[in-house]
């Protein structure tokens, strides 16, 4: 098990290296020039050139890459072109909102989606199934920002239940924190719920046709327990897999959701950094997101052993 984890962690190295190379090259080939942006609207060409030199953008790309790689390996993510802050500082002050949002979204999604999916599978072919599946297809079809605007309009502006925007740090109390995240988390979770509910339904359906379900019924077990004790646990592996894969979706959604709700998280930071061509920040964030993604999927793989004793690493 330990050696499996180590091997998997080792395997992330080439993955992240690929990511690093791709991201780096992509950014350096972009037309935007961070120096011009830093210099401001009235800067002269010479001023901009000076800044470019200062930022090390005038060196050959390969050299820039190895300098960057070297410092990454030393654990130094570099310094933002814009803010007088290290990338590490920036990321660490932005991480709380994003983590909170992601956490709440996942919890919300799992709590809502799994019972829905099980129900749909159990009542396969009935109107309940159709409604759940219909909702899940619609969840995939409506852009996140539309959902966001609608929720804001109804629940924040018309009903005034939740704040329109903004994020409250958890240090300022759990309730304000929670309140500020309800709408964003719900917005973000729609597509996630759709995904998980759908996968839950499929894999529970698959499991429901298994012999051991019949065995459980032959023992005289009640349907609810058959569903939640026998079926769900066996269906868990594909479900947690999709929860893990869905994190990619979530990261994409975070970018939009944080924009809509003005949440100062990593998603906003990404957009801001991309629009400003703040290369060190973009590089670090994409690398960090990729790492998290790989890590989450490693955790997901490890969690298989909890759900399925046949899986051993």
């Amino acid at each position: 098990m330990i050696s499996y984890i180590l091997r998997r962690l080792a395997a992330t190295v080439p993955v992240l290296f690929t990511v690093a190379v791709m991201v780096f090259l992509m950014l350096r080939l972009t037309p935007g020039d961070p120096a011009a942006i830093i210099a401001g609207d009235n800067a002269t060409t010479q001023q901009i050139l000076d800044i470019r030199t200062k930022l090390g953008l005038e060196q050959p790309i390969l050299q820039q890459f190895f300098i960057w790689l070297g410092s990454i390996l030393r654990g130094d993510l570099g310094e933002s072109f814009f803010f007088r802050k290290t990338v590490f500082e920036l990321i660490s002050e932005r991480i709380e909102p994003t983590l909170s949002l992601a956490f709440l979204t996942i919890v919300l999604a799992v709590v809502i989606a799994i019972p829905l999916g099980v129900l749909a599978a159990y009542r396969q072919g009935t109107w309940i199934d159709r409604i759940v599946m219909g909702f899940s297809v619609i969840g995939f079809s409506v852009p996140v920002f539309v959902i966001g605007y609608l929720l804001i309009y109804i629940f924040a502006i018309k009903l005034g239940w939740f704040p329109v925007q903004g994020y409250q740090r958890i240090s300022g109390g759990v309730f304000p924190w929670f309140r500020s995240l309800v709408l964003p988390a719900f917005t973000l979770s729609v597509i996630y719920i759709a995904l998980i509910a759908r996968m839950t339904r499929t894999s529970v359906l698959e499991v429901l046709s298994e012999d051991y379900i019949r065995t459980a019924r032959a023992k005289g077990q009640t349907e609810v327990k058959v569903l939640f004790q026998h079926a769900l646990k066996n269906a868990a592996v594909p479900i947690v897999t999709v929860v893990g894969i869905g994190v990619a979706l979530l990261i994409g959604g975070v970018v939009v959701t944080e924009s809509v709700y003005s949440i100062p998280g990593l998603g906003r930071l990404t957009v801001d950094a991309v629009l400003a061509r703040d290369f060190p920040v973009i590089q670090a964030i994409i690398l960090a997101f990729s790492f998290v993604y790989v890590l989450i999927n490693l955790i997901v793989d490890l969690s298989y052993t909890i759900f399925d004793p046949r899986i051993r690493y």
Binding site: T18, V137, S209, G252, I286, F289, S290
Partner: protein, 310 residues
């Protein structure tokens, strides 16, 4: 012992089993497929005849008639000095462009993006996936690269790719294709890996079938159904991702009408002039919904696993 085989009663006739309903028949029995196809066809049709039904040039600006509500009319001064009166069925946007015309023309671009992304990612993924699945030595190299690509969240990758070159149709399409490819590769590879163990493939190997023929004849067809299904989902998500990229301000250039664009431009005025986001939103969601339904329907009918469950 029984009588010699050649005279045995079961052996003579060839069709003891009832004919399986053909795939087509089954497809046409699936409400998802029918509704999906119908809506998609309507949208494609709208896109095709856009020049006929659009009430004005979708890019023609008219600063004097901006932000009109649906069904309002406006007059446009022409170059030759005449004035034309237009009814804006879906109102106008902040530049006074006719939203209805833009939505109708937008169908072209949005659907084009969906379809071309689906075709591109499926075909690229197919080739790479086949290679990875069939040639063991290539497998680990390809899969490592694919893992790398997969590890970058799709939207971030798209954002990065779009900012790569000037915003335009091509870069948006590339941006959406790139993250989809590894998913297709994985799918194809898994199909290839399982199919190559099938006895009939092994039988073809013992029959001396050359590798390329083997792949094309015996393995490729098995990927068609899952790929069609996957393709529809890619198509749906491409249309959506385009809208999201537009929303973040890095999509197709705003003068080209796409549903995503119209919504992105209209989003600031959502509270006052919801029509800018409502109508393209309805078209977009309807299309994505239809394509997703089509995909679901296809999967239900084409995926033998689902079939077993009946």
């Amino acid at each position: 012992m029984t009588a010699p085989a050649s005279s045995s009663p079961v052996a003579e006739t060839a069709v003891p089993l009832p004919a399986k309903p053909t795939v087509w028949r089954k497809l046409l029995r699936s409400p998802n497929v029918i509704v999906g196809i119908a809506i998609v066809l309507v949208m494609v049709f709208i896109g095709l005849i856009a020049p006929l039904i659009a009430t004005s040039d979708p890019t023609a600006i008219n600063p004097g008639a901006r932000n009109r509500v649906p069904m309002a009319t406006s007059t446009m001064r022409m170059d030759d000095g005449t004035r034309a009166t237009v009814t804006h069925y879906m109102g106008t946007d902040t530049l006074g462009r006719d939203v209805f015309s833009r939505v109708v023309y937008g169908a072209r671009v949005s659907i084009f993006i969906g379809i071309s992304v689906a075709i591109l990612s499926v075909s690229i993924g197919l080739v790479i996936g086949m290679a990875a699945g069939y040639f063991r030595w290539l497998d680990s190299i390809i899969m490592r690269i694919m893992d790398g690509l997969m590890a970058i969240p799709a939207i971030l990758l798209a954002i990065a790719v779009v900012s790569l070159s000037r915003a335009g149709l091509a870069s948006v399409i590339i941006a959406i294709v790139v993250p989809e490819v590894p998913r297709v590769v994985r799918l194809v590879r898994s199909v290839v890996l399982s199919v190559r163990e099938e006895p009939y493939v092994e039988a073809a190997v013992t029959a001396g079938t050359p590798t390329l023929k083997l792949i094309i004849r015996h393995i490729l067809p098995n990927t068609v159904a899952p790929l069609i299904v996957q393709g529809t989902f890619i198509c749906a998500s491409a249309i959506l991702v385009e809208a999201i990229l537009s929303f973040l301000g890095i999509g197709i250039p705003p003068d080209v009408p796409t549903w995503g664009n119209i919504m992105a431009e209209g989003r600031q005025l959502f509270r006052i002039f919801p029509h800018n986001i409502l109508y393209p939103g309805i078209f977009l969601a309807l299309t994505v919904l239809a394509v997703n339904m089509l995909g679901d329907g296809l999967r239900d009918t084409l995926d033998p696993k689902m079939e077993k469950r009946g």
